[in-house]
Amino acid sequence: MSSTSSVVYLRDGATGQLVQAELHDSILQRHLDDHKNHWNPLIVAQGEQHGHWDWERKWSHFSAQLRYQSFAIECNGQSQGLMIVNTIKRCRIRQQANKHLVYVEYLEAAPWNRREIPKWNRFSGVGTVLMAAAIQLSIDEGNHGRIGLHSLPQADTFYRDKCGMTDLGPDVSYNPHPLRYFEMTEVQAAAFIQEGR
């Protein structure tokens, strides 16, 4: 698997300065290795909700299917965020029901980049850059920026308030837990891009 990369910017948590990073349009083996060797020990130690996410196993399953695409952010030679999206799902909001969107299956920032763990706050903006990548893919696919996702409880506020997505409430059909479903309309996507969230 190969990838192409583009330049994106993250904010250094210590200096407040913008730092250059690379957004790859595919997860590569080195990103999976970083997750296994550097992220996972910290995630397990924190006992986080998605500590069970095994990206190596996930990507070995998803990478064979055209409907899935992946992204990774690298900065300072290390993976800072990973995302897998599904391109054949459809919208639920009434005014765009049944239209195609890009559905975010999994999005994870490296543990040292998470707001809820301030002592490790190394780079901010990882989630925002990955959301922007999902919106851009949606635009490239002809879906006008429409995206959707089920959110882990600790990320609800980010998707609702920071990203401006519509909260459709807990989805009881989502296994194994009824996570809240969020969807972004074309207008919300344009606002997200315009405001540089």
């Binding site: 990838s3 192409t4 595919s26 299917q65 055209l66 409907r67 391109t87 054949i88 002809g142 879906n143």
Partner: protein, 69 residues
């Protein structure tokens, strides 16, 4: 990701359906054909695993299997 170009030959009827679906979904022909290929692969993979393709209408309480040969 790099892309490659191909020529696709369709009958008049197939092109008509493609045009209709593109208009309905707001997609161009390339985007719609790519969606169709992804969906075809997804369905084929599940069928090969022994799964069935089902359609359900909750309002009418109807469930039917789509037989894919």
């Amino acid at each position: 990701m790099s892309k490659r170009t191909m020529t696709l030959n369709l009958t008049e009827r197939e092109m008509h359906v493609l045009d209709q679906l593109c208009a309905k979904k707001g997609l161009n022909k390339t985007a719609l054909m790519r969606q169709a290929l992804r969906l075809y692969q997804a369905v084929d993979t599940r069928l090969e695993q022994g799964d069935k393709l089902m359609f359900e209408n909750e309002e009418k309480n109807e469930k039917s299997e789509m037989v894919v040969l």
